[in-house]
C-alpha cells in the first residue's frame, strides 16, 4: 500500500461541485500530474492532500495510513506554492531551515541538511540573501529546497512554473526532472499546461468539472484519448462527426462522416458496431499534405480541399484546409530540411490530405455544450486570423 491514494473524494463549494467522487492511486516515487483547465478541481485535490481543505466525503491514504483528518502541519507532505510563499523576513538559508527548526532537528544536522539542499538547487552563493533580492527562477529553487529538506513522503507542486517566462520554464522543467531523479520523492504536479505535464510526468490524470476523465502515461493520453475532452485539451486535434458504416474485418471499419464524400477507414479498437454514432479525432501532425492526389493505398484515407490559411511557425507549418462547408482541417508538417522543402504549399492552393487508418481515434459523442473544450482548438486560429494582414 505504498503511495498516495484518493478514495471517492467529493468536495462542494456552495453550488459548485469542485470534486465529484475522485479516486486516484499514485505510486511511490512517480511524478504524477493533475492536468485540467482552471476550475476543474485539480488545485482543490492538491489542497486536500496538503491538508488545507477537508473533503466532504472520501479518504486520503498515504502509505496505507488514513490522513484525511490530519492537520496540515502534521502531514509528511510538503507543498511548493504557485507564488512560492517564501518568508520575506528570513534569509534563504533561514527559509530552508524553517521546517527542520520547527521539527526540532538538532542544530548540526539542520546546518548539514540545509547546506546539502542549497547545493542541490545551486544557491550556495545566495544563501544570505532575502527573497526580494533574488529572481523568480531562484525563488522557485528556494521553494523546492525548503520543501525537500524535510524529506517529505510526497511533494506537492501547485503550478510551480506558472509565474516564470517561457525559457526559464523549460529549464526549470528539466531541473525538476533532475531533482526528482536525485531524491526519488513522489511528486504530485498540478498544472493547466499540457506541455509541462507531458514533459515531466510518469502518469497524468486529466480532470474536468471535478471528474477524472482519464489516467495514463503521456503517450496514452495523447495518442489514445478516451474522451473528446481529453483529445481536445491535450494538444491540437480535428473532430469529425459520423457513424460507423460497415465492419470491414476484425480490425477495421468504415465510417461515414456527415457532409463528406468518401467513407473513411478507421481502426476499430473499441469494437463498435455498425450505425453507432461516433466522433473521430485526428491530430494535425498525422496528416500528410500533397499537391497531387497521393497513390491510393487501402489503409490510407484521402480528402481533397483548399488551403484557407497558412501559418509558418518556424519549426513547422500549419495549414488550414477547407474540405467541406463544415470541416476546416488543421494539418501540420515539420520542417527538417528547409532549403529542400522547395516551393511550399501556399494559400488557396488545391491540396490532398491523407492519413493512415490507424492514426485516428473514435470517441464517444462530443458534447458541444462543453465550452472549455470547444474553445481550445478554435481560439488559436481566431486570434491569428484577427491579425491585420
Amino acid at each position: 500500500m505504498d503511495g498516495l491514494t484518493f478514495e471517492g473524494i467529493t468536495k462542494q463549494f456552495g453550488d459548485l461541485k469542485a470534486l465529484d467522487n475522485v479516486s486516484l492511486s499514485i505510486r511511490q516515487g512517480e511524478i504524477f500530474s493533475l492536468l485540467g483547465p482552471s476550475g476543474c478541481g485539480k488545485t482543490t485535490l492538491l489542497r486536500i492532500c496538503a491538508g488545507f481543505e477537508t473533503p466532504d466525503s472520501g479518504r486520503v491514504l498515504l502509505n496505507g495510513e488514513d490522513i484525511t483528518g490530519l492537520p496540515a502541519n502534521r502531514r509528511r507532505v510538503n507543498t511548493i506554492f504557485q507564488n512560492y510563499a517564501l518568508f520575506p523576513n528570513m534569509t534563504l538559508r533561514a527559509n530552508i531551515a524553517f521546517g527542520l527548526q520547527v521539527a526540532k532537528v538538532p542544530k548540526k544536522e539542520i546546518a548539514d541538511r540545509v547546506e546539502a539542499m542549497l547545493q542541490l538547487v545551486q544557491l550556495e552563493k545566495h544563501a544570505h540573501k532575502r527573497p526580494n533580492q533574488i529572481s523568480g527562477g531562484q525563488k522557485q529553487r528556494v521553494a523546492i529546497a525548503r520543501a525537500l529538506v524535510n524529506r517529505p513522503q510526497v511533494l506537492l507542486l501547485d503550478e510551480p512554473l506558472a509565474a516564470l517566462d517561457l525559457k526559464l520554464r523549460q529549464r526549470m522543467l528539466v531541473e525538476l526532472g533532475d531533482i526528482h531523479d536525485e531524491v526519488g520523492t513522489t511528486f504530485v504536479y498540478v498544472t493547466h499546461d499540457q506541455g509541462e505535464a507531458m514533459g515531466l510526468s510518469d502518469r497524468i490524470a486529466v480532470l474536468n468539472h471535478g471528474v477524472v476523465e482519464q489516467v495514463g502515461t503521456p503517450p496514452e493520453i495523447y495518442e489514445a484519448p478516451r474522451s473528446s475532452f481529453t483529445a481536445a485539451f491535450i494538444g491540437d486535434t480535428n473532430f469529425f462527426n459520423g457513424r460507423v458504416c460497415e465492419i470491414v474485418d476484425s480490425e477495421y471499419c468504415t465510417v461515414e462522416i456527415d457532409g463528406l464524400e468518401p467513407r473513411i477507414r478507421m481502426f476499430n479498437d473499441k469494437n463498435l458496431r455498425a450505425n453507432v454514432p461516433v466522433d473521430l479525432s485526428i491530430r494535425p501532425e498525422k496528416f500528410s499534405i500533397h499537391r497531387q492526389p497521393p497513390d491510393s493505398a487501402q489503409e490510407r484515407n484521402t480528402l481533397r480541399g483548399v488551403v484557407e490559411n497558412v501559418i509558418y511557425l518556424g519549426s513547422h507549418t500549419k495549414w488550414w484546409v477547407r474540405v467541406s462547408d463544415e470541416y476546416l482541417i488543421s494539418v501540420t508538417s515539420q520542417h527538417s530540411r528547409f532549403l529542400l522543402d522547395k516551393d511550399p504549399i501556399r494559400w488557396e492552393e488545391e491540396v490532398w490530405i491523407s492519413w493512415h487508418a490507424d492514426d485516428g481515434y473514435m470517441l464517444e459523442r462530443y458534447n458541444e455544450s462543453d465550452e472549455s473544450l470547444v474553445a481550445l482548438p478554435d481560439t488559436e486560429v481566431q486570434t491569428l486570423e484577427d491579425e491585420p494582414e
Binding site: A50, F52, A72, N73, A85, F87, N89, G99
Partner: protein, 284 residues
C-alpha cells in the same frame, strides 16, 4: 535637462520649507529658551544661564517622570495588545464588515477630544453609571474611587490612542500575505510558531508605527491627566503647562519640553540602531 537628483530636491522643497518653518525652528526655539534666565514678569532675561536645568533636580520631578514613562508604556502596550487582535479580525473580515468596523474606529474623531474626556468624567463619576453598575454587581466596594487616579488616566489614554494603533496595524495586516500561513503550516508549524516567526515579523513595520503613534503623544499627555487625574497622577505635560501658564516661567517649561523631546529622540535613535544591528546579523 535637470538631473533626477536635483529634480527630487526641487520637488521636496515645499515640504522641507514647511517642516523647517513650522517644526524645526520652533523646536530649536524651545531648546534656546531653556538656556535663558526667567524674569519675574514672565519674560526672558538677558544672557545665558544653566539655572533652569539645575532646578530640574527638584525632588518632585523623578516621580512625575517615572509616572509619565510608566503610564505611556502601559498605554502603548495596552493599545498594541488590544489593537492587534482587533486589527487582525478587521483585516480578515468580509469587505463590507471591514468598512463598518473602520467607521467605528473613526467615529470618535467626529466629536471634540475635550468633550470626550469630559464624557469619561461623567461615566467614571462617583455617582455615575459605571460606579453604580459595579457596586450593584458587588464587583467593587461602595467607597471605591474610579476617578482622579492613575487608573482613570490610563484607561482614557488607551481609549484615546487606540485608533492610532489600530490604523497602522490594520494597514500592515491587510497587506500581509496570508498564503504564508499555509506555507508555515505546510512546513509543520503550529499557530504559535506561525504567529511569532512569520506573522509578527511580517507586520513589524505596522507595529513600529503603532508604537510611535501611541507612545509619543502619550508621553506628552496633558489634557487627560489634567481632567481625570488627581494630584497624585500628574504627568510631565501637566508640569510643563503649569510652568508655562501658572508660573509664567517659560525657560522652565522649555527645559522640561526639551528633556521630553530629547528623551523621545534618544529612544528612536536607540531603536533604529538596534534594528540595523539585527538586520545586519540577519536575525529578523
Amino acid at each position: 535637462m535637470i538631473p533626477p537628483r536635483v529634480r527630487e530636491w526641487i520637488i521636496s522643497v515645499p515640504a522641507m520649507a514647511w517642516l523647517v518653518v513650522f517644526f524645526l525652528i520652533p523646536t530649536l526655539v524651545i531648546f534656546v529658551i531653556a538656556f535663558k534666565p526667567a524674569t519675574p514678569m514672565g519674560g526672558l532675561g538677558e544672557g545665558w544661564t544653566l539655572d533652569t536645568w539645575r532646578e530640574l533636580g527638584n525632588p518632585n520631578y523623578p516621580d512625575i517622570m517615572m509616572r509619565t514613562l510608566r503610564l505611556s508604556f502601559y498605554c502603548t502596550a495596552a493599545c498594541i495588545l488590544i489593537g492587534l487582535p482587533f486589527s487582525y479580525y478587521m483585516a480578515r473580515a468580509a469587505e463590507k464588515l471591514q468598512r463598518w468596523l473602520l467607521m467605528l474606529v473613526i467615529i470618535p474623531f467626529w466629536t471634540n477630544f475635550l468633550i470626550r474626556v469630559f464624557a469619561w468624567k461623567a461615566v467614571l463619576h462617583p455617582e455615575g453609571p459605571l460606579k453604580h453598575l459595579l457596586v450593584s454587581l458587588g464587583a467593587v466596594p461602595p467607597d471605591t474611587m474610579l476617578l482622579y487616579n492613575e487608573g482613570a488616566v490610563l484607561l482614557v489614554m488607551v481609549y484615546t490612542y487606540l485608533p492610532f494603533a489600530i490604523m497602522p496595524l490594520y494597514a500592515s495586516i491587510e497587506k500581509f500575505d496570508f498564503s504564508l500561513m499555509e506555507a508555515a503550516q505546510d512546513l509543520g508549524a503550529g499557530r504559535v510558531v506561525f504567529f511569532s516567526r512569520v506573522f509578527l515579523p511580517g507586520i513589524r513595520r505596522g507595529i513600529q508605527t503603532a508604537v510611535l503613534m501611541v507612545l509619543i503623544p502619550a508621553l506628552g499627555s496633558y489634557v487627560i491627566p489634567d481632567i481625570l487625574g488627581g494630584p497624585t497622577s500628574e504627568m510631565l505635560g501637566n508640569k510643563i503647562a503649569q510652568r508655562a501658564f501658572a508660573d509664567r516661567n517659560l525657560p522652565h517649561a522649555a527645559a522640561l519640553s526639551a528633556l521630553l523631546c530629547a528623551g523621545v529622540m534618544l529612544l528612536l535613535i536607540g531603536w533604529g540602531l538596534l534594528a540595523r544591528h539585527r538586520q545586519k546579523r540577519g536575525l529578523t
